[in-house]
Symmetry: C2
Subunit: 265 residues, 2 copies
């Protein structure tokens, strides 16, 4: 059986990780990586010699084209790529864009969204990264899901509305958790403690939330309605962190039905 031919448009973090995965996937061949500037594509270090410009992609006639560029660049990139051969299935890796944004390339479009934060220099085991797939029809969805299953053990289907919910969950999971960790790092830095002292507490918190659910696992002054401790902590916090402290404490109190007259920070 002939290998399924895959091309990638884009040379950023997501493209780099996908290129490395596809290049070694059994039954698939990475035939081209395209960028505005082919030297960016070459720099991926992916196992393909075919680094090209967006406009050259049609000449490779890939079975699948993965478009992995910044959301704001999408219209420029699709204009540069132009129509693909009619059999090519084209897919976006974006969490927010609609598959219809690829209509200028092909009616056989879809979504190939890895729910992960990719950074150059940070190895990611693609095998456990959840991929969320959508297709113009079930046929495109299945072609994309089959590729995703070569890369990962966690492959799912999601329409645009569900993917929007995922993206919101991703902001909380990644950006907001990261912000909270940043506050902890600042407090520990300012007090002269090593950042490491928070790690066992964080690990135990995450383990408990995963095992019994975050609601049941909640502890601390807010869930006890201990307004005196919360007011004291608010006073001692740098001003910039107070709205976050207030919002999260109010959310905990509201979720755990702390009486209204106590719920004043």
């Amino acid at each position: 059986m002939e290998a399924i031919r895959v091309a990638i448009a884009g040379a950023g973090n997501v493209a780099a990780h996908l290129a490395a995965g596809i290049a070694t996937a059994d039954g698939y061949e990475l035939v081209a990586v395209a960028s505005r500037n082919p030297s960016n594509a070459e720099n991926l270090g992916a196992a393909t010699t075919a680094a090209c410009r967006y406009g050259d992609l049609a000449s490779f006639a890939p079975d699948i084209l993965i478009v992995s560029v910044a959301d704001k660049a999408i219209d420029d990139v699709t204009a540069a790529i132009g129509p693909m051969p009619p059999n090519t299935v084209v897919a976006l890796t974006s969490g927010t864009l609609a598959k219809e944004r690829l209509a200028p390339l092909s009616a056989r479009n879809g979504i190939f969204y890895p729910f992960q934060t990719f950074t150059k220099g940070y190895a990611t085991d693609l095998g456990c990264v959840p991929f969320f797939i959508e297709g113009a029809t079930g046929q495109e969805a299945e072609i994309l899901a089959t590729l995703a299953r070569k890369l990962s053990r966690s492959v799912h289907f999601a329409d645009a509305a569900h993917r929007q919910q995922l993206h919101i969950a991703g902001v909380f999971t990644s950006n907001f958790t990261n912000t909270i960790i940043g506050v902890v790092q600042t407090i520990l830095d300012n007090a002269g403690f090593s950042r490491d002292v928070a790690v066992p507490l964080l690990n135990q918190t995450l383990a408990k939330a995963a095992e019994i659910g975050a609601y049941a696992a909640q502890t601390g002054p807010a869930v006890r309605g201990d307004i005196a401790v919360m007011k004291k902590q608010l006073e001692e916090l740098p001003e910039e962190f107070r709205p976050t402290y207030r919002a999260l404490s109010q959310l905990i109190m509201s979720q755990h039905n702390i009486p209204y007259e106590q719920n004043q920070l």
Copy 2:
């Protein structure tokens, strides 16, 4: 050399984990675990046969007495324990109370604070739990630190003001991270996704924050000042989560100097 004799007042989660650790610590002997109701102390399953009432503790003449009870019970408990023999060093496990709350028991008082969340049924490797020590004089501090070093590889000294900063950091590390995870679990539950799909993203987020610091690791719509995406996500969020989304997005924008006129959610 004779073993150092330790007693514990309290039969809760912290007391249970400490009792198990002290009972097996080389050079130490757990001579008594006390509770209002001795059967609670027996239920610890600690390696001591001496379960007793608070009021009986002085008769054991321990070298060290660890007082590990709920903050709000402290005055009742010290009244019930009464003065200890003059050589006994007494210490609180609390993150917030002052060591002077133990003055009715002994002038040789201090703090023995494990920076961790303990729950019955959740094993905790005490060896990596940071302990924070304070003593009425350096002598008490050293006696308590020596015991802590038998239990853990991470032992530190902290005065009351520094411990207060730690406690605030602990609220962010444990309670607020837990709240954010709870929001993620709710969004995923409501959309019909498995909670597991967020785990690789969370793990990668924490790894990056630890390695390069949370500030440098920040990604997402807020750090890009992408107000359109943030407004759309706010509209799609359940009402109760919006103040948290707003506070954290504003904090990210402020930390990363997103221009003021964009900083409106």
